[in-house]
Subunit: 344 residues, 2 copies
């Protein structure tokens, strides 16, 4: 038997908890017999949800906790004070080596603070960016940072560019990934104070393939593999992608059944359309990793479906196999070779 | 005969100049006999374009200029130095009362600087915001600011909220328009430094209907009528809407013809689909006004089609009829009534 991959799952995080995390856990273990889900949360509520399913009980472990972290509270205070919350207990399991990865669709801010404080950053990492893959016509690009690291400085963005390059190369398999910074014009002189300060620094970096600015209308064209931005802007792009795609798709569906003629046509185009729209469906992408930590932390979005949380669990297995954080550490901070030197 | 409405059109601005501005001018005057277009630019090039069309020569006036402002130069320097550029000459015509409005699809930065410096801001307006209408499932919302006023302060955003409310009430006809600020969470405590500073100020405003934060996934839901944000973020949202809608639509079209079955269906759904997608087509919306100036300034986007520029010209007629800037002035800075007072 292979070694079990243990995921600490926040059973109370997200808009549809504990129902969706429980369903995701069951689906994940029913798909892969080498996954164990250690789910934290209200014991009674979790058991009531699990009672609805058939599954191998040896692959599920309920870790009873008494507190929950909501999106309305200060992330820093919540992580510090709610020591018996489903999120803090699960994060500690990663830190202590009891679990191999952490997944939550709870408060982004709390995942970010908890990931950095409880699991800890790799030495040298200034801020851990939340970096989801977003759909493009050519495949996917990495949008880095989308977390709650707002009001970043130029040197943070430079590190994000390097982390993103390592990710796209080692995880997605793109040689010499193209890096661009989100801007409001294509010229170097354009932008706000942060972009103007960051641009020349990125240009100087020898370890990335910086191609300049990317305007927001080019984000889904595949022009850049690594799209660097400050977290507020990244969050806006990420949520806007989700919202606009949803709106357009629902308007298109409405339009398709607006006439008798189109309703007949709609039945014929449905399978092809479904396939096309799938690539713009956020749930297909699972969650977003918080990169540069000493352990695996993946955030699924607040209204994540069970499929999305399940995919986030599978993502963890893949991240672990490909050793994402280990590679970031190795390549960003290569061990200094001791050289024979006489000039003491 | 009605009074002619005179539009000063930048004949050299935009990616497809002078072809698109010339075609737009011809289409506009062929549609409305009370419009006169005074087009600035290279005389020979403009005449060569006009030679392609049939139109009433009395409604077109070519104003020869010798310089052009590109997107690659500093807006401030360009406006100051290129006194015989198509943009500066056209803007001056508005200032001098020779034209009723200015339209350009040239450099956003230059339109912004030129509008503020040459046409001039209404007394009391701190920064003139670029405010396009964006499509929502309920109709349209105003996104304010999308210009080049980057790195705004909280008090600028507060004034944008008030200007936007007046616009949506007096131009679009929405009573008590709902105002929200773009944020990365729905709670007051969320956001970057700018949003955290602005939120309580908006809450205190008695003259607007502030409903709190709006996340980027809610932008096209019609939750808010006036969507307030700093220009960098607004520009990202605006361009992202255009880019993602274009990508989705092209992917859908590709998908529709991917199988024989779907190709037959595609022919049937085409008219209905076209109608649906029209509402997300930027060119239907014309341009975006630069609000709070002493004259009408409308910016069409850089790659604007002739239809889009023509619609921007018609927008000017409408703005003039509805007296948009006059209403902003009246309502934002009502004349102080002299009161009889004895306590001198």
């Amino acid at each position: 038997m292979e070694k079990m991959f243990k995921v600490a799952l926040d059973g109370m995080g997200g808009d549809f908890a504990p129902a969706n995390p429980v369903k995701a856990a069951v689906d994940a273990i029913n798909t892969d017999k080498n996954i164990m889900v250690m789910i934290t949360g209200d014991k009674e509520k979790l058991e009531a949800e699990f009672a609805k399913y058939e599954y191998n009980k040896e692959q599920i472990q309920i870790i009873p906790t008494t507190e929950e972290i909501s999106c309305n509270e200060s992330p820093v205070d919540a992580i510090r004070r709610k020591k018996d919350s489903s999120m803090v207990v699960a994060l500690r399991m990663v830190r202590n080596g009891e679990a191999d990865a952490f997944v939550s669709s709870g408060s982004s801010g709390a995942v970010l603070v908890g990931g950095q404080v409880l699991v800890g950053k790799i030495k040298g990492i200034e801020r851990a960016p939340l970096a989801p893959l977003i759909p493009t016509v050519k495949g996917v690009s990495l949008l880095i940072d989308c977390g709650a690291n707002v009001d970043a400085k130029a040197h943070h963005l430079v590190q994000f560019a390097k982390i993103g390059s390592i990710y796209m190369k080692t995880i997605v398999g793109i040689e010499n990934p193209k890096v661009a910074i989100v801007n409001i014009g294509s010229e170097e002189a354009k932008g706000n104070a942060l972009v103007k300060e960051t641009y020349p620094l990125l240009k100087e970096c020898e370890d990335i393939n910086f191609i300049g600015s990317i305007e927001a209308n080019e984000i889904h064209t595949g022009k850049a593999d690594v799209i660097v931005c400050e977290a507020f802007v990244g969050n806006v792009i990420l949520k806007h992608t989700e919202g606009l795609a949803k709106t357009l798709i629902s308007e298109i569906k409405k339009g398709l059944t607006s006439t008798v003629r189109s309703t007949i046509g709609a039945a014929l185009v449905k399978p092809a359309l479904k396939e096309t729209l799938k690539q713009f469906d956020a749930s297909e992408y699972g969650g977003a990793p918080l990169l540069g930590l000493k352990g695996l932390v993946v955030k699924a979005h607040g209204s994540a479906s069970a499929v999305e949380i399940k995919n986030a669990i599978f993502q963890c297995v893949e991240f672990s196999r490909l050793q994402v954080n280990e590679k970031i550490k190795e390549q960003l901070f290569p061990p200094v070779k001791e050289e024979a030197s006489d000039d003491k």
